[in-house]
Amino acid sequence: MGLSALAFISVSALALAGCSSADESDAPAADSAVVSTNGSEPQKPLIPTNTTETGGGKIATSIFAGLVSYNADGEIENEVAKSIESDDATTWTITLNPGWTFTNGEKVTSASFVDAWNYGALNTNAQSASYFFDDMVGWTDVQNTKLDPTGAVDEEGNPLMVPDPLSETLSGLKVVDDTTFTVELSAPEADWPLRLGYTAFMPLPSAAYEDMEAFGENPIGNGPYMLDGEGAWVHEEGISLATNPDYEGLRKPVNGGLEITFYTDLAAAYADVQGGNLDVLDAVPDSAFETYEAEFGDRAVNQAAAIFQGFNMPYYLEHWSGEEGKLRRAAISMSINREEITDVIFQGTRTPATDFTSPVIDGYSDSLEGAEVLEYNPKEAVKLWAEADAIAPYGDTTFDISYNSDGGHQAWVDAVINSIVNTLGITATGKPYPTFAASLGDRSNDALTGGVRAGWQGDYPSLYNFLAPLYQTGAGSNYEDYTSDEFDALLKEGAASENVEDATAKYQAAQEVLLQDLPTIPLWYANVNGVSSDAVGNVVFGWDSVPLYYQITKD
């Protein structure tokens, strides 16, 4: 994992920024330099391996430093790690920089990482990010389950399973000495280090294991910021973070701290920026889409984010499998005017999709073979639909796309449906479920009647993360049970490649398979929109749509 030239330049720029601000932070008015920003109440106590949502994620990345961190372009830079090396992409040797400490004074050692990862992987701990360790040797042992001894069954009469780990620790994780440990993967993965900046891979101090729940209320980390004393997290209201004086990593804060206020309504947060009560807002409410760029000028941000959106077409539906299904999928895709919908419905805050990943990910492509199926082409769409009708007539079956009506999806679903109706002349409709939970039931029971809204936000900047969890046979988020031997093989070859360039080529080839099969109809990538007040400067958004808080300046 050598740093690219670009990454190197940005590192030195950061280092310079860090230096120049060191003088300023000596000024007595430290209070005024606290940057305020928006957030949302974390769903769980702040335990890194149990934090998989954005509200908790932005706090966790601020108070912890992992082996690597991501720069604005999503490239990794070593933080606690001195080196992450492997000859075969299977056994990785990680050496740590000495001198890192947690804010309680404890040293960050190999054990800080290995113990935390073991904790996250063990199924009796029920950590939501446990699947990040599923490629390590020993995973099946720590995740072993047995039949419920009480003989309990679920609603469908299937016997319930309870955790019964054969081992408390992953056998693939070995501490060599205080600053060295090795990780053995069950299969080669060339881009494995890319994920190490994700919250699931953060180290934990040994104090955490005494009472993990209590630790999650007042977490102790090694990151650029730390909780501003006991009880800094006021539930449902906000959290105050102070700078960590002992932090010497790449993300040295140039401001005096972070005040994160939790909002349930984005419009309220937006009004707070307008009213001068909030410095940085990393989202813009729909109601301000038309005006925010004019109002905030160069303090408004509208750039692509690592969020892919589309809709899945299940294969168990009549008319949607085999050759007929292939034609219909392509016809539907070509009948959607993505340009117009992103312009009109989203005011340009979405970017039409050209692949299955995101423009901010290294390896994104707008010229994949077969990508023309994602372009609006009503003539071809009608032709393909007619060819499919020649195989088996579609009749007057109603085509539908289901969505959860509590997430603001109705406008674009209706627009997509209109576009399909206008092009193909079929009857089609949007099908709302009251909540996401309600749609999940029908999805896992194969009881959908048509397409279903789908979206994915990258956990870490890698093509693999956008493909494997969603389309690999039997993968966790592959709800509509897509399966393709060709795709699976390419994905496996990509993972086993010796370098990232080869891997990218394989992943792109795998996407070309998806473009033919279209298990999901790609629609667009979400943009990150944000605004900041004139009290702050240097607001740059990272690849994960979260501002790089440490480099925001405030006088």
Binding site: Q43, Q127, D134, V234, H235, E236, A269, A271, A437, L440
Partner: protein, 309 residues
């Protein structure tokens, strides 16, 4: 009257059980698996969902869940939210601020509403009366959220008189703007109720008698007209307190107040029965007590009202 009060308090018991049972059942019947939904598009490792479900008793039949909840309730344990916080903590965070907001709104709407209504009633058909009627009609027809947005924009962003949203400590000064928004609709109703009632009573026999006895005009108006006119207004205020406590969800959202309405709404979308039921149980008690208080107040306002045994 003691007997009457005692009977009313005892009536709370079946109301409490009925309400909690019904609400628990309704949340239980919400479609979808709340635990699976917590993980969104990323299902956790196998066994995690089952384990979490067992932790919240969601693997048990409905009636068992309900009685486990009620059993714990009477031992002072209201359960935990899906984020692992005790529901009692959530209540301690949400109720005080909502209570202050509701009280402030109740204060604004009752004082301003009764004064304006009284003047309008005394000058029926005059200019003040006509304008009061127009303004109240306007307030009733404009939805609260529109008023909230406009107030926030004008007084918060443009004029800068008030903070645009309420901060975590929620001092009274910051609650003035949301309380005004919250009070607006009820204020309009109170103006109209008071006005009609005052205008009615002005022609009543006892007012004519009082005037004939030679009492001063202010005394006739305050003691005889107004006091007797307040019965319908107080009835309205009693019911309104309940809706101000739970119904402030829109206003709370606009001003980012972490109150009861928003918490219950969030809990319902998450399918978090323990939170919803605990909050509703407290709401039921508040509602019943407020109504009891109003009923007792009738006797104080109108000497003709007596409580039968």
């Amino acid at each position: 009257m003691l007997w009457y009060t005692g009977r009313r308090v005892l009536q709370m018991i079946p109301v409490f059980f009925g309400a909690t049972f019904l609400i628990y059942f309704m949340v239980f019947s919400l479609p979808g698996d709340p635990i699976a939904a917590l993980y969104g598009d990323r299902p956790p490792a196998p066994g995690v969902i089952e384990q979490v479900r067992a932790q919240y008793n969601l693997d048990k039949p409905f009636i068992v869940q309900y009685f486990l909840y009620i059993g714990n309730f009477f031992q002072g344990d209201l359960g935990t939210t899906y984020s692992g916080r005790p529901v009692s903590d959530v209540m301690a965070g949400a109720f005080p601020v909502t209570f202050r907001l509701a009280m402030l709104a109740l204060f604004f709407e009752s004082v301003a509403g009764i004064v304006v209504g009284l003047i309008a009633g005394l000058r029926k058909g005059k200019f003040f009366d006509a304008s009061a009627l127009v303004v109240s009609l306007l307030l009733i027809s404009v939805p609260t959220f529109v008023l909230g947005f406009v107030f926030r924009l004008v007084f918060g962003v443009q004029l800068g008189w008030f903070r645009t949203t309420v901060s975590a400590e929620a001092p009274l000064g910051e609650l003035v703007l949301p309380a005004l928004v919250l009070a607006s609709v009820s204020f309009a109703y109170i103006v109209r109720l008071t006005r009609a009632s005052v205008a009615d009573n002005l022609n009543a026999d006892f007012v004519r008698t009082a005037t004939a006895k030679g009492l001063s005009r202010p005394r006739v108006v305050t003691v005889h007209v107004l006091r007797n006119s307040l019965v319908p207004v107080v009835t309205f205020l009693g019911v309104d307190l309940g809706s101000l406590m739970v119904g402030a969800i829109v206003t709370e959202g606009i001003f980012n107040i972490n109150g009861v309405g928003g918490t219950v709404f969030k809990a319902i979308t998450l399918g978090e029965s323990t939170t919803v039921v605990s909050f509703i149980a407290v709401m039921v008690v508040i509602f019943v007590l407020a109504n009891l208080f109003v009923d007792l107040l009738y006797a104080a306002l109108d000497p003709r009202i007596r409580y039968a045994k």
